[in-house]
């Protein structure tokens, strides 16, 4: 996970906009990626990522410098996306349509595009079957290498709840592939 100089964090905490812009530049990809994997919509992921940085900027005084900044910022993003998901509860069909609309907007080579589109749909289907919190837990564990304790802090859960959520999510993912392979 990316790390940023404590001096820059301190300057941003003191209200320096330029230092915070540097933080945004450093963390835009992991934050946006988490938002995108949670929401599966370009525009909503952009809004969620911008909102995450606004919340971080507005509540920077609450940030404990003994804690990892990555954990803190991703925690804000995860909570925001979970709230957004709960508010909208998008039906599966709508997600599929959204994906088809979004993917052609990116312009890599055509064959790469097809492969990427297939992989994205496969991943989206796997993640879409999980509840918002289980999805966040899986993403934090396997994408960002968070420990049980970090996930627990991030999602405001107990460590045992994280273990049982990860267990349930893994079972669900394995069974989906089991069904596909049958």
């Amino acid at each position: 996970m990316i790390n940023i100089s404590p001096d820059i964090i301190e300057q941003a905490q003191n209200g320096d906009e330029e230092s915070f812009a540097l933080i945004v530049e450093t963390y835009q990809n992991p934050v946006y990626n988490l938002c995108y994997r949670m929401l599966y919509n370009d525009r909503e992921a952009e809004d969620a990522a911008q909102e995450t940085f606004w919340k971080a900027w507005s509540n920077f005084s609450k940030y404990d410098s003994n804690r990892s900044f990555s954990t803190w910022i991703l925690s804000i993003a995860a909570h925001h996306c979970i709230d957004q998901q709960r508010k909208k509860r998008v039906p599966e069909v709508e997600i599929d349509e959204t994906m088809e609309e979004i993917i052609p907007e990116r312009t890599p080579l055509p064959e790469d595009d097809v492969i990427r589109q297939e992989e994205e749909l496969r991943l989206k289907k796997m993640l879409a079957q999980l509840s918002e919190i289980d999805r966040a837990a899986i993403l934090l564990r396997y994408w960002y290498d968070f420990s049980d304790r970090e996930i627990a802090e991030n999602l405001s859960l107990s460590e045992s709840a994280v273990k049982s959520r990860l267990f349930r999510a893994r079972k669900s993912l394995a069974q989906l592939w089991y069904e596909r392979s049958e």
Partner: protein
Amino acid sequence: MNTHEEFERWILEEEALSPEETQRLSRHIAECESCRTLQENLNQNLAFIKNSSMIKPAAGFVARWQQQLALRTKEKQESERIRLILGVLGLMSVLSISSCLVIFSPGNLVNTGLRLSNLLKLVAINIHQLKTMLSVLKIPLLIFSAGSVILMIVYVLVGALSAVTIKRIRKGA
């Protein structure tokens, strides 16, 4: 002896197994197709998630953030100003209401009553002068009183009629 469910649990949990447990699990997986597929699927699935590419935002994310920051800061300042104005207005309303409550409180009403009775006393002292005045103004005062009584009766009638009409309208509704 482990049950099939226990082996499934071992596959799905991330807890480290002892060498003996690992051996038992391997033996079971070699025999049980269901557990073998479950483990293969899980491993493939997790590897797929780990190896998936990171999605990046559209170019110019930081510039958009800076625009948002400027806009939101302005909005925040404006909403704080509105909140301040509303606060001042609220404070003024509270002060006005509390002053009214103080002025019209029972204690102050007694004082007002006492002042009124003093005024009446003054009137009683000057009653003779008043009598003289009344004898002079007798006829105009009588006309004025009669007019007032008639006006009062008209008011009462209009009030009663309005009440009856409102009742009828409500019943009709």
